[in-house]
Amino acid sequence: MKLNRRAFIGTAAAAAGTFAAPLLVRADGHAKPRVVIVGGGAGGATAARYIAKDSNGEIDVTLIEPTRTYYTCFFSNLYLGGFRTMDSLGHSYGTLAAEYGINVVHDWATGVDRDAKTVATAGGYTIPYDRLILSPGIDFVDGAVAGWDVTSQNAMPHAYKAGSQTELLRAQVEAMPQGGTYAMVAPPNPFRCPPGPYERVSMVAHMLKETNPTAKILIADPKEKFSKQGLFEAGWNDHYAGMIERVGPDFGGDNIEVDPNAMTLSIDGDVTNVDVCNVIPAMKAGKIADLAGITEGNWAPVNAADLSSKMDENIHVLGDACAQGDMPKSGFSANSQAKVCANAVRGALTGSTVFPARFANTCWSLIDTNNGVKVGASYEATDEKIAKVDGFISEVGESAEVRQATFEESVGWYDGITADMFG
């Protein structure tokens, strides 16, 4: 049988009937269904754009995002390495407002009333919704690294939310004395962008190799292994031999204490004076998910088919904040999840066709100039989770031409996904 969209409607209507039924009651008696989205990153901006684009004005879309210029966390390591400018990572919401009719509210979401189906903002507004999509990214677990909290982030930056923290970290690396030590406290699983800390080490090493070649990099890591480990370690050996030392849990990498005033890092009681200390604490879902009462532990569990909260069918959670199964927490994943969610939300609110969920992720990392590697996988929705179907990873020992092509591909991906997010 030829399967196309119309055939799918016929064959899948019974099975997917849950999603196809339009919502009859609108919030606040509003003429159109209302979708409110909190968080304007890879998940939220994509969801807003796709719902607005595909509903052709049938749905009112409000996007709540405090920043007027959004700096992508993905590719921010390349800024540290000198391969991108900060300006090139910044994106405005102007096109989403002007061309897609999205109501972009620059404000902090401070609470969710699930009974009234409203979102409160720091600016004092109460915004009603029929469906709420939360894509708040990550926050840090209090007390995850002994001696560190958010008040010490200027002395020991996390730089895991792009922008001023990223600029601060780069300035600190540039100011290191010759032969000084850059330390990184790596986070435990799960966390945003599994290869991110190790790409960062590569980029800092690249920078130091050019300006401060006798400097050292020390990684305290609570994990036994990490994403693309073989590729990174081979790359570090080839390009930054003798510069990088990683201390895993076997040698105390999971027993860390820092002193931001003294600029020391203690690994299993062994105190080291450092010049820069990049503390990336354990992570949890962005605070609004907790405030909405839809978290379990540090993350918000969701149903794989439509990213709806397991605790509230009218709330969906995207990207880093959700516990969905096998997908890594990445911008690509959030973008992929957003499209599935947008399709499901639109179907629920207008009766439009809901297609089967499909997910994919690819993650590129830069090791040195024109030396890119990648990993990726495809996924499907099961009753239990988003489950991995297939995957690939770059090989150790690839030619320079392959690595350069991989890097150039990553640049193309950046242009593609940001266009997909912001129009």
């Binding site: 030829k2 399967l3 196309n4 969209r5 119309r6 799918f8 796709y50 690509f332 973008n335 992929s336 499209k339 399709n343 297609f355 499909r358 994919a360 690819t362 990648k374 990726g376 996988a377 495809s378 179907v389 297939d390 995957g391 690939f392 150039e408 591909e409 990553s410 640049v411 193309g412 991906w413 242009d415 593609g416 996904i417 266009a419 997909d420």
Partner: protein, 234 residues
């Protein structure tokens, strides 16, 4: 294909020699080999038609953006409006680095760095911009098919609306605008070319791991739907 060039050269030595040879110092036979890098997008020779890119017959001294019926990128249209003409010099610059000459061109070819390579390719193209192009016996010298796909698969008529939904998996990387920077454009491909390319990934003939993974779980009908959507995308 090499035989075709040799054939053309054999019967048209005088004509080719008469064509501004001072400008065309390359080896057309070697150029035909190099042209294979172009042939998945551009046809040339008798019977050549527009495919992913416009056909290249008569390209020399033709104003840019003038192949009737071909949908050029906005970048190429701007260049055409600005008076770009495909002279030896402009073609040389274009095949060295397409985007340096025409920003936002959909031609995602990395370019020929080597001057001799460019001379050779241009010598080959030149064969089809003068008398040799009119030889009636000439067969098409470039065919976009790089992978055999069963006729019944090529005959599937895809649903562009379903393709639009499926395209969400493509647009995390490929740009709807047709712009290309490190990842090639996939807009406005002739449907057949798109289907052939996707099946080449699906069957492991084309080697890119991301595309093999993405194509690998698409059914024949879904590939046809994507092809239909991207062919006529606005």
């Amino acid at each position: 294909m090499k035989g075709v060039a040799r054939y053309i050269l054999a019967v048209s030595t005088v004509a080719v020699a008469a064509v501004a040879h001072a400008d065309v110092g390359g080896d057309a036979t070697r150029g035909e080999d190099l042209y294979r890098q172009c042939s998945s997008c551009h046809q040339i020779g008798a019977g050549a038609v527009d495919r992913v890119g416009p056909h290249l017959n008569g390209i020399f001294d033709r104003a840019a953006g003038q192949s009737e019926g071909f949908r050029y990128s906005s970048g190429m249209e701007r260049a055409a409006t600005g008076g770009l003409v495909w002279t030896y010099e402009s073609l040389d610059a274009y095949i060295e680095d397409p985007r340096s000459l025409v920003s936002q061109t959909r031609m995602s070819f990395r370019g020929f760095d080597d001057q001799q390579d460019r001379d050779d390719v241009l010598a080959y193209l030149r064969l089809f911009s003068d008398n040799p192009r009119d030889i009636p016996e000439s067969a098409p010298t470039a065919v976009a098919v790089d992978h055999e796909v069963a006729p019944e698969i090529l005959a599937i008529v895809g649903d562009p609306a379903y393709g639009e939904y499926l395209s969400g998996e493509c647009t995390a990387c490929h740009q709807i605008s047709g712009a290309a920077s490190g990842i090639p454009s996939i807009t406005h491909w002739p449907s057949e070319d798109f289907v052939i390319a996707m099946h080449a990934y699906k069957d492991g003939v084309r080697l890119h791991p991301v595309m093999q993974m993405m194509a690998g779980r698409l059914s024949n009908e879904e590939i046809a739907a994507l092809a239909a959507y991207f062919e006529d995308i606005e």
